[in-house]
Symmetry: C2
Subunit: 309 residues, 2 copies
């Protein structure tokens, strides 16, 4: 299958490598110059679970260079870059193209519907994870699962072919009616962990060691749950609390979440698609979300003070 | 008049110097060893409005060394040290002693009434300010005003003598029925400026330059105002907003508030007497204060991560 991976950071690189390895015709796309040039020169360096697997020659292009047609496009940009990426590659999106969006955060479906038919838009949530150890150097940890759904279901058999391609690449995927729940559960985790580690300046274990961490968590989840219910989401608060608590004793204790890393590296963060999105939906639904509002402003204020770009 | 200044940091040192200069028998009290020993050895170095005034020989003692009786005790400890200071010096508090408490924050009156009669407790709010440039080195800026009241009024003429003594020392003081309002107005300012500069890691001007600073301010003041009204305080929100706005264009732009400095120097902060006190009073009165709660937890979490003491 001809596959475009639009946004070839840690997750995009890992997915691109796995899909090429299982026999697909993969093109990565990214805007980060050092990363693109490194992969062009030396290939993509892949490490999985601590084991170096080698340098792999994978085609990679800047968005404006992309040509041709693709059966399937996987989107792995930063949230705020989704629209400009779609603008850049819309020339290669045909009526037969399927897109899978696995971005963190809320509201991406509202962007996607401007570019193609709901019947060709997969929205998903994944438990795969990956990191970058510098340009061209991807590190995968463990395996994962992808839950996905079409924004509007169809009988098109290509839908199943795409899921089959993902599974053959060991990107274990299954259709689910609970994708929105999964997205909201993951957003909840990020609205707590990513923001608090950033504001307190610590890793996940540090936040978990603070005796009143659960009181902070409750203040945030109170608002998210209220908005989720109003939005018709099947929201399982106990599940969210459990995955948060598990982080504090697991091997992610030493991890600094992506938002923390963005702040540390003076990049703009995805806060508007996390607590900021909750606050927006709160306003829309007449639900007060002062805690999510404050967190959003605090993160933006830190970006401003540091002149993040 | 025989005066004890209990807590001889920046403000206590400035007040002690001014009261001695105008002819009173002043004893400073403090627990900070370097500061006490420096003043004992070289006297108190005083700078006022950029002009060095000299080294002044002022008696200073550790709390456990204090003996004798005092007409008047001025309290200038950190909020969390008030009770232990009173414990240490209670042996010199007689039925004739008056106390003036000018600490920032809320709730100090509830501590004071455990040590002496309400008729002898002045509660006040001051616009004087001062800084320390290392041990034994106090820096005063401008002049100020002190509004004060007795927790329970009396006809005792000593009340007026004390106010006269303060005024002779140019610590301009007047009895006021609006002391609680003034305290709440000052607390409001500190609940916004001291906390936000600390969490965002900037000075007052930096916070003021952030385009959405006013939205943060409104989230915090919404809660303080609701609690203040329920507590029967004559609360002037417009006044608070004006003094906050004025800070952003005034000569305090480069200033880092005391809470910021405490955090930077790995000391415990007064957050429990600011946003933490608002949250406590909110709980007592059945008013939701999630924003003040979150801010209190965030500051405590930062103290914890940094092992502040």
């Amino acid at each position: 299958m001809k596959i475009l991976v639009a946004g070839a950071g840690a997750m995009g690189s890992r997915f691109g490598y796995m899909l090429q390895k299982s026999g697909n015709d993969v093109l990565l796309v990214d805007t980060w110059k050092e990363h693109v040039e490194k992969i062009r020169k030396d290939g993509l360096s892949v490490t999985q679970d601590g084991q170096y697997l080698g340098q792999f020659n994978i085609p990679i292009a800047y968005p404006e260079e992309v040509e041709g047609t693709f059966d399937f496009i996987i989107l792995f940009t930063k949230s705020m870059q989704l629209d400009s990426m779609l603008q850049s590659i819309k020339k290669v999106i045909t009526k037969d193209t399927y897109i899978l969006c696995l971005l963190n955060g809320l509201g991406h479906d509202k962007v996607l519907v401007n570019y193609l038919d709901k019947k060709h838009i997969f929205l998903g949530a994944t438990r795969f994870s990956a990191g970058l150890n510098g340009p061209g150097n991807v590190i995968g940890h463990g395996s994962g699962l992808i839950e996905l759904m079409l924004l509007e279901d169809s009988d098109d058999k290509k839908k199943n072919e795409i899921i089959e391609v993902l599974n053959q690449a060991e990107l274990f995927s299954e259709l689910s009616k609970k994708v929105f729940s999964s997205i909201w559960h993951k957003v909840s985790l990020n609205c707590v962990i990513n923001t608090m580690t950033t504001l307190i300046d610590t890793n996940i274990g540090g936040y978990g060691d603070f005796s009143d961490h659960d009181k902070i968590t409750q203040l945030i989840l109170d608002e998210i749950q209220a908005v989720a219910i109003k939005e018709g989401i099947d929201y399982d608060r106990n599940y969210v609390e459990t995955i948060i608590t598990n982080l504090f004793t697991g091997n992610k204790r030493n991890h600094y979440p992506s938002l923390y890393q963005d702040m540390k590296n003076k990049r703009l963060t995805e806060i508007d698609y996390l607590n900021g999105a909750i606050a927006d939906l709160g306003r829309k639904n007449g639900i007060k979300t002062p805690v999510c509002e404050l967190i959003t402003y605090l993160i933006h204020a830190k970006e401003f003070i540091q002149s993040n770009k």
